[in-house]
Structures are given as structure tokens and as C-alpha cells.
């Protein structure tokens, strides 16, 4: 049974984003790969062939594209695929130690899945959250930020009980209630957008 057989509306929706041409069909390749991986945890060879047929290309091309990007997997991952950012900004915040701790305490090497099927680990490059280092991503679910030893222990404990905490999305708040930016000292300086003069939405309005 093919994966997309029962998901025609989804497939149609994905194709509708791109031009109705051979090139446009090919554009659906990455979204389709993402669909399969999110559902099955990896993309098998038969799924590659299925996607190739949908996109009007060959399994060779699908594998080639897939292997180019670092977040697609050809092997099954654990239920919780822990991806630790290892690039400099996280490394300066101890990402290497976080990694070593995970590998050691979960007893799982990259490419492996822990015996209970729960965990797999991957070192990844900059996740774009350098202000909240170190950062870890779980599966395709989102970021866990400022993962210090204490927080790491909490997360692992929750995952072992299959209670995945919600991802973090700490938003850097730089603007106070009055719309002015706040210095490190707590002092609000500058002005607020409300003080700026907005141009009228329609031409010919008074200036």
C-alpha cells in the first residue's frame, strides 16, 4: 500500500503551490519527503520510488536530493530523535558536554536507536538559536533551548515516561510596554513607534 494513496487532498494541496509543469511537479519533492518522514520517521526505498513517480522523476534523483539535506533519514530513528546543535555559539555554552552526556546516559551512538526504541541522537550544525545556547531539537517538533544539565535531566526524564514537554519558544522581548527599547540596566530609551509619523495609506492624503 502506498503512503499517499489515501492522502490525495494533501498531495493536491502540495502540488497546488507550484506551477503546473514538469519543473513545478518536481518542486513537490521536498514537501513530500517531509510528509513521509514526519509520519514514518525515515524515508524507505519504496517511499522514494513512490515520491519519484509523483514528481515525475526517478528514485535516483529522489535519493540524491534526499541525501543532500541533513534532516532526511534513510534509516529509522528513535521515537525521540535528539539533535544537538554543535556549532560554535552552542559549543561556547557547553554543547559538547551536552552531547557527551546524552550519548553516555542514553547509551546510544549516532545512527543507532536505543534498545527501547525511544532514543536516537544526531549532532547537527547551527540551528539558528544562538542567543539561547545550547539548543537541542527533538524530531521535527521544535527547539528546546538553554538546555543546561538540570533542564537536560528534566527533558530526558519526561521522554523516558513518554511525556514529551512542549518545545520552547522564548521570545526576546526588547521593547517595553510603552513601545520603547529597554537597556540592560532596565532603563527605557529612544522612542516608541507610536511617536513615528505614519504616511497615509492612500495617495493624495495630506502629508
Amino acid at each position: 500500500m502506498t503512503y499517499f494513496e489515501t492522502k490525495q487532498p494533501l498531495v493536491a494541496d502540495i502540488f497546488s503551490r507550484y506551477p503546473d509543469s514538469p519543473q513545478g511537479r518536481r518542486s513537490a519533492l521536498m514537501p513530500l519527503l517531509r510528509e513521509v518522514q514526519d509520519a514514518e520517521g525515515f524515508v524507505s526505498e519504496s517511499r522514494m520510488a513512490e515520491i519519484a513517480a509523483l514528481c515525475g522523476t526517478t528514485a535516483t534523483e529522489v535519493r540524491s536530493v534526499m541525501s543532500f539535506y541533513s534532516t532526511y533519514h534513510t534509516l529509522p530513528t528513535g521515537k525521540y530523535h535528539l539533535q544537538v546543535c554543535s556549532t560554535l555559539m552552542c559549543a561556547l555554552a557547553g554543547a559538547d558536554e551536552l552531547w557527551d552526556h546524552l550519548v553516555e546516559s542514553l547509551d546510544v551512538q549516532p545512527g543507532e536507536v536505543s534498545p527501547d526504541g525511544r532514543f536516537s541522537v544526531q549532532k547537527v550544525e547551527c540551528l539558528g538559536s544562538c542567543g539561547t545556547a545550547p539548543v537541542m531539537q527533538i524530531g521535527d517538533d521544535g527547539y528546546y533551548e538553554n538546555v543546561g544539565p538540570g533542564k537536560c535531566a528534566q527533558i530526558l526524564e519526561s521522554l523516558r515516561n513518554d511525556l514529551q514537554p512542549l518545545p520552547d519558544n522564548p521570545v526576546p522581548v526588547t521593547v517595553g510596554d510603552d513601545g520603547r527599547q529597554v537597556l540592560a540596566t532596565g532603563q527605557a530609551v529612544g522612542s516608541s513607534v507610536t511617536g513615528l509619523h505614519r504616511l497615509p495609506g492612500h495617495a493624495g492624503g495630506d502629508a
Binding site: R26, Y69, M89, L98, P134, N146, V189, L199, G201
Partner: protein, 447 residues
């Protein structure tokens, strides 16, 4: 326009200036800031009405006049870039938002995407209208799951409200916008590689010429801008080119999102006028370093490191001043490197990053960076260095620099060459004694 003063006022080059107000990040962090209702309450979708009223050419003129330069790193004049698009060629045109924020040290776009998606959408409608584009794509890095969900939701909201689709706001202008998620490849930040990725291909950079404005996505005229650039365009249409041009320095005008990472009191994103000094950013806004520092990466990892000196700290953060100091403003992602950390180890980390992200298309990057340079650094940093290794790295760099197909290999040489220049003694120590001047230390702790 507002009252014009007889003498031009002194440009704003500090966020502490009472005339400066944050706009790009003004709503980031506010409750429900990502909803259409919130956005509209705060004047949203008025700029696009103004764009429709003045016409596409006037929009390009306004952006030109504002002095806006691309905020993705290269700093190319945005209005000029928009004017490269053919006017009456009868072909479909595309606008693409480069939301593949992957340069280590950069994390500004993620919050624009998740907290103020309508600002971006509006900017893209304005840009598309100016460039006669009928379809837009937001290429967002695959890991930004939350941001992608927010932006999709905002697109649906906008579509339902008639802000996307056919005949937007009765203007007769049609524009469709879609999100395309990446899957983990730094090279997609290169615009032609991004287009290949969008076309479902390996993200190898393409040959230029033809440039995207002539033959881009699907071979059709295309313009790609950074998230922040589109958002700035929204603000320019809202407050005017003169307002934007009133901030910054002569050639670097407007506001910019600067990011601070590394051991500082308040790492994060700060909206400051261009020309603000590193000192103001690091001390006044980010609260100062938590330990003794030795280097600053001024604009994302590819920008050469600058020494932690008063001269550096007093350098204004604009394209020209940072270039004069020997580096690049890049994405404005400022990373501080502590004195107690081994610079070779830190550079190895970045070299490994570039080696991992090399697409493999051209020889100097695939072999020189990905295969060789990473191992030279591994050798040095793991205590197996030999005299001559540093000289070899310098000569390899000479054979790589300016020889590669795209800028990725050169980007890797930014930290390599600058760190050798600034901290040669650390390299020499590893090459001769196999011992780092600054041994590894524990850094993992709770905040």
C-alpha cells in the same frame, strides 16, 4: 511628507537617540502579535494600500531613496536590485523570501517569522507589486518548525481576508504566497542554491550569469531578499524613505537587527540604527561580557574575527566601517569569544561547520575545505600538530580563496585567516608543543 527642516538633521546612529523607535521588532513579544487582528490594530496592511496607491515604480523609487540595503549579509542596494526585474516581458515573475537563516551567530529572522509574520507578508506583497510578480515563496529553513506553522497560518489568514490571492484590496493585483520548508543545508542561503532547492534539486549554486532577475526560479525573472529586508520595506512604505534614510551613516542607512551571542549578560536580538557602535550593542544593550573576551565575530561566522580592543568596540556597525576594520557587517550576528577559550578549537568548530555544509560541487571547497582543512584543524586541536602546519593552512587558504564556485569556501576562510592573524601564538603553540595555550574547560551549566 512631514515638515522638511532647512538643514538635514544629524543622522540617528544610536538606539538611545530619543528620535529612534524600534519598528521591525516593535511587536515581537507582544501577546497575539502574530495574528491578523493584532497586526491590523497596529496599522498593518496600510503600507500596502499606500503602495497600491502610488504605483509600482514609485514603490521602487521609495525603496531606492530609503537607502535600504539587503539585510541577508551582502548589503546590496535593495531598490536597485528590484529595478533589475524586467518590466514588460510578459513572463511570470517570482519573489522569494530567503528565510533559510543558517549563518552561525544569526537568529533574527526566526522571531520576525514567528512573532510578526504579517509584517513579512506585507513586505512581500509590496515587493511583488513593485516587481510585477504574481507568486512568492518563503523558503524557510526546515528546522524552524514553529515559525513555519505561524507563517502558514498568517498566510491563510491573509488569504481569507483578501490580502493574498486575486485582486488584493481591489487593486487589481494578484499575488499568491507559499511556504517552502528546507531540510538542513546552509548552502540554501545562497540565492541560486535556494532556487535549485525550491525546484526539488540538490542545492548546488548555479552559474551566474544569468542572474536571477533574468532567469531565476523555473528560469523566470526572480528576486530574492532576506526576511528582514522585506520587513524593512514594509516599514519604509509606512514611515517613508526619509525616515529610513534619517538613520545610519551615509552609505548604510536605516535600522538593523543585531544579534549578540556568546557569554554576555543578555544575549538576544536588538534593533539599532546602523552606525551604532559595538560598544553600545555589547554593553548597553546586551549587558556586557560575563568574562574576559579576546575576539568578536561581527556579523555571522563567515565574517573575519576582530580583536577585542577599544578600537573594535568603538567601530560603528555599518557596512563601510566594519569593512574598514577588516571584516564585514554580514547579518549583524555578533559573537563574543572568551579569552580563556582556545581560538584554534573555536575555529576548528567553524571549519567543521563549513566542511559539513560544503555542497561538494567544486574542488577547492569539497577537497580543500571539507576534506583537508577540517582535518588540519582536527590535527592541531587534538594535539597532533607539527611545525609547518600553520604555514600549510595559510598556503591552502591561498589556493582556496577566490578560486571556488561560490562564496562558501571564502566564508570558511574568514575565521581561519583572521584567527591566524590575530592569535598566531595559539596556533604556534599547538604546532610546536602540541599543547593549547587555553585548555578545554567545562562550560555546560544551567542558566
Amino acid at each position: 511628507m512631514t515638515a522638511t527642516a532647512p538643514t538635514p538633521p544629524k543622522p540617528i546612529t544610536s538606539a538611545k537617540d530619543p528620535r529612534f523607535a524600534p519598528t521591525l521588532y516593535a511587536h515581537v513579544g507582544q501577546a497575539e502579535s502574530w495574528t491578523l487582528a493584532y497586526y491590523r490594530q497596529n496599522g498593518g496592511y496600510e503600507p500596502v494600500r499606500r503602495a497600491f496607491a502610488v504605483g509600482p515604480d514609485a514603490v521602487i523609487d521609495e525603496v531606492k531613496k530609503s537607502g535600504l540595503r539587503g539585510r541577508g549579509g551582502a548589503g546590496f542596494a535593495t531598490g536597485l536590485k528590484w529595478s533589475f526585474m524586467p518590466l514588460k516581458d510578459g513572463k511570470p515573475h517570482y519573489v522569494i523570501c530567503n528565510a533559510d537563516e543558517s549563518e552561525p551567530g544569526s537568529f533574527k529572522d526566526r522571531y520576525l517569522l514567528s512573532e510578526d509574520p504579517h509584517q513579512l507578508i506585507e513586505g512581500m506583497i509590496i515587493a511583488a507589486y513593485a516587481m510585477r510578480a504574481s507568486v512568492g515563496y518563503i523558503y524557510i529553513r526546515g528546522e524552524y518548525v514553529h515559525a513555519a506553522e505561524r507563517i502558514w497560518a498568517a498566510i491563510h489568514e491573509a488569504r481569507t481576508a483578501g490580502l493574498l490571492g486575486q485582486n488584493i484590496l481591489g487593486s487589481g493585483f494578484d499575488f499568491q504566497l507559499y511556504v517552502h520548508r528546507g531540510a538542513g543545508a546552509y548552502i540554501c542561503g545562497e540565492e541560486t542554491a535556494l532556487m535549485n532547492s525550491l525546484e526539488g534539486l540538490r542545492a548546488n549554486p548555479r552559474l551566474k550569469p544569468p542572474f536571477p532577475a533574468a532567469a531565476g526560479l523555473y528560469g523566470l525573472p526572480t528576486t530574492i531578499n532576506n526576511v528582514e529586508t522585506f520587513c524593512a520595506a514594509t516599514q519604509i512604505l509606512r514611515y517613508g524613505a526619509d525616515w529610513h534614510a534619517g538613520m545610519g551613516t551615509e552609505k548604510s542607512r536605516g535600522m538593523k537587527l543585531f544579534q549578540v551571542s556568546g557569554p554576555v549578560a543578555r544575549p538576544g536580538v536588538y534593533e539599532l540604527p546602523l552606525g551604532t557602535t559595538f560598544r553600545e550593542l555589547i554593553y548597553d544593550w546586551a549587558g556586557g561580557p560575563l568574562e574576559e573576551m579576546k575576539a568578536i565575530i561581527p556579523g555571522g561566522s563567515s565574517c573575519p574575527m576582530l580583536p577585542w580592543t577599544d578600537a573594535t568596540l568603538d567601530t560603528p556597525m555599518d557596512y563601510e566601517s566594519v569593512a574598514a576594520a577588516g571584516s564585514m557587517l554580514g547579518t549583524g550576528g555578533v559573537t563574543l569569544i572568551p579569552q580563556a577559550d582556545c581560538i584554534v578549537n573555536a575555529t576548528w568548530n567553524l571549519v567543521r561547520f563549513y566542511g559539513h555544509e560544503s555542497c561538494g560541487k567544486c574542488t577547492p571547497c569539497r577537497e580543500g575545505i571539507s576534506s583537508w582543512m577540517t582535518r588540519m584543524y582536527q590535527k592541531l586541536a587534538t594535539g597532533r600538530g607539527q611545525p609547518g602546519d600553520v604555514q600549510l593552512i595559510l598556503d591552502m587558504s591561498d589556493n582556496i580563496g577566490g578560486r571556488s564556485f561560490c562564496a562558501l569556501a571564502d566564508a570558511c576562510l574568514g575565521p581561519v585567516l583572521s584567527s591566524i592573524k590575530l592569535f598566531r601564538e595559539e596556533y604556534d603553540a599547538l604546532a610546536t608543543t602540541q599543547q593549547p595555550l587555553y585548555p578545554a574547560r567545562r562550560r555546560w551549566r544551567d542558566r
